[in-house]
């Protein structure tokens, strides 16, 4: 993918994506498939797509203060040093949750969705209601996800742009002192890296 030049004025689809879309359109027009039925199948696997590098990145930041600092300063470069991410995209900004501030990410689906970090985007993430409400009423949206925050916690909503994608660095759960990176990574959920959830608590059923 390194030869893939990115033009920010318009969207790009890879040759493979173009062929997949062509097939899907033709099959839909001819009545062989229904997009909703395809979505249902894909949705069943949405947690099983992509290498889920985000969880490893978060776990490393929890255990390695130098890496965490580097990550917050330049997400793209810090993730690049891990060597297991093929393409992080143009500019990855990592935003840290603290007791005073909760971060939340919105974005429309485009060909540059950072699934390399987060896996496949969930269906609700692509939906217009989430996108519009997340900005206007983040606390209400979080409540829908079962996330309640103290009144004094500021909520910042980050809207992904052509150049910039965001990854939330959630707070490390209590009771995980001495845990290994691999153990910690198990606690990091996709939603906690979008900001619509918390990491799993130690001992909670997975």
């Amino acid at each position: 993918m390194s030869e893939h030049h990115h033009d920010h004025d318009h969207s790009e689809l890879s040759e493979t994506e173009l062929r997949v879309r062509a097939l899907e359109t033709i099959l839909t027009e001819k009545g062989y498939v229904e997009p909703a039925a395809l979505d249902a199948i894909i949705q069943a696997y949405e947690t099983r797509i992509g290498p889920h590098n985000g969880a490893r990145v978060v776990a490393k930041a929890w255990t390695n203060p130098a890496f965490k600092q580097a990550l917050l300063e330049d997400g793209t470069q810090a993730v690049g040093t891990l060597g297991h991410v093929s393409r992080v995209g143009d500019h990855l900004v990592v935003v840290e949750n603290t007791p005073d501030r909760h971060n939340m990410v919105v974005c429309t689906l485009c060909s540059c969705y950072p699934w390399e970090m987060l896996g496949l985007p969930p269906v609700w993430y692509k939906a217009a209601p989430y996108r519009s409400r997340a900005v206007k009423d983040p606390r209400g949206v979080l409540a829908d996800f079962g996330v309640t925050l103290p009144k004094e916690t500021e909520i910042r909503v980050w809207d992904s742009t052509a150049e910039t994608r965001f990854l939330v660095l959630p707070m490390r759960p209590d009771g995980t002192e001495g845990w290994s990176e691999a153990q910690l990574a198990e606690l990091v959920t996709r939603d906690s890296m979008i900001g619509t959830g918390f990491p799993k608590r130690p001992g909670a059923p997975s």
Binding site: L18, A22, Y32, L38, A40
Partner: protein, 126 residues
């Protein structure tokens, strides 16, 4: 979704990359290609043994052309098999597939970054 259908697919096509819980995908498009084959099978367009034979043939041809077949290219072969079977079954000609591919390319080009890419009739004339 009917997880039974996916289970039957992985049983009938043993080469599908999977772990204990079922198929795994490296990229979103791979799941799309998988879902299309699953749906077409349910529509009766082909049997799984027919699919497996066509896929094996596709992989053999790619290997002959130098594909290392390390698993990374698995769903590329899967996609090529879909295109071939669809042409063979008379659902869509190769020319038609190319026309739609070019139209999507055109649609991507005129879509500002960050907006969903949608196909419009004029994309076919560009």
């Amino acid at each position: 979704m009917d997880t039974g259908a996916a289970a039957r697919a992985t049983a009938a096509v043993p080469s599908i990359p999977r772990d204990d819980e079922g198929p795994v995908f490296r990229e979103p498009w791979e799941a799309q290609a998988f879902a299309m084959a699953l749906t077409l099978h349910e529509r009766g367009l082909f049997t799984w043994s027919e699919w497996a034979a066509a896929l094996a043939d596709q992989i053999k041809r790619a290997q002959a052309e130098g594909d290392p077949d390390t698993g990374e290219t698995y769903y590329r072969h899967w996609l090529a098999t879909l295109e071939r079977l669809i042409a063979e079954k008379g659902v869509a000609t190769t020319e038609n597939l190319h026309r739609y591919r070019d139209a999507w390319d055109h649609a991507a080009d005129r879509t500002p970054h960050g907006k969903p890419i949608e196909l419009r009739p004029e994309d076919f004339s560009g």
